[in-house]
Point group: C2
Chain length 144, copies 2
Amino acid sequence: MKIGELAKAAHVEVETIRYYERIGLLPAPARSHNGYRAYAGMHLERLAFIRHCRALDIALADVARLLRFVDDPSAECGEVDALIDTQLARVRARLDSLRTLEDQLVALRSQCGAPDRAAQCGILHELEAPTLGDACVCHGERPQ
Amino acid sequence: MKIGELAKAAHVEVETIRYYERIGLLPAPARSHNGYRAYAGMHLERLAFIRHCRALDIALADVARLLRFVDDPSAECGEVDALIDTQLARVRARLDSLRTLEDQLVALRSQCGAPDRAAQCGILHELEAPTLGDACVCHGERPQ
DNA sequence: GTTGACCCTGTAGCGGCTACAGGGTGTGTC
DNA sequence: GACACACCCTGTAGCCGCTACAGGGTCAAC
């Protein structure tokens, strides 16, 4: 399998595959007589594993840790759990902060009356508010 | 005001201020006899504006666009609305995908029985599933 | 005169790719 | 044989928003 074929099979960019090889995540494949990379089924499996982890937003360093368990089936896998738990906590923290952000943007958006001159723009005024130490619609009484 | 004082007043790192100057977001201040940056109130206002936008996760390029309206109060501000709307849409899209991610991670986490050997690890098996074209607990019947 | 806190410039690093530049190879068509 | 075109190679730089040095200068206090 040439790199382009692997890329299509795994729905990944060619450059991404070379990048994974460079950082040691995907083992370097054999080379054909012309120097082209020649991949085997194992590479597709590994790449699919990586992409699956990435779809779960798991950092590449953590993917590398998970791959070590794949390579060593006799290892204790408690760390795998912990890693997924940490990932889940990270996602939930980000969800919380994005929800707050959404509320703030909605509040900010509501400041716009009829669009006119910047001088009268409620949104810009709100964005400037904390400058003066005032409360702002999005961040409440005490800015920051 | 020296850069360290400005940094404290705006709750920003010194390096961040120099970075904003370098990319043209914060105007270069006057210099004292010793070459130190000497900031005026205007810089604090502008920096607070920038940080407020950043707290709303507005990209620096968009902050620059907003600052142009601050500098030209007679301009039409329809673009300000549009920018906030776009930002809100971005945040909501990210929220959606994070919520899906959360569900997937929870499903994945539930695959762990008692932690033991990696060979028996339900989580690792699920992460490997799409490799074989199987359905996986987190991505449903048809992986990818 | 020495310590320590601050300031300066310039550059490199983070993550996870993405996008070249500048070349080689393989296949098909004229 | 000549050409086009798709693909492959290596190496490097760019994206974002900082952050963290290295290697130096300045200033006030003790």
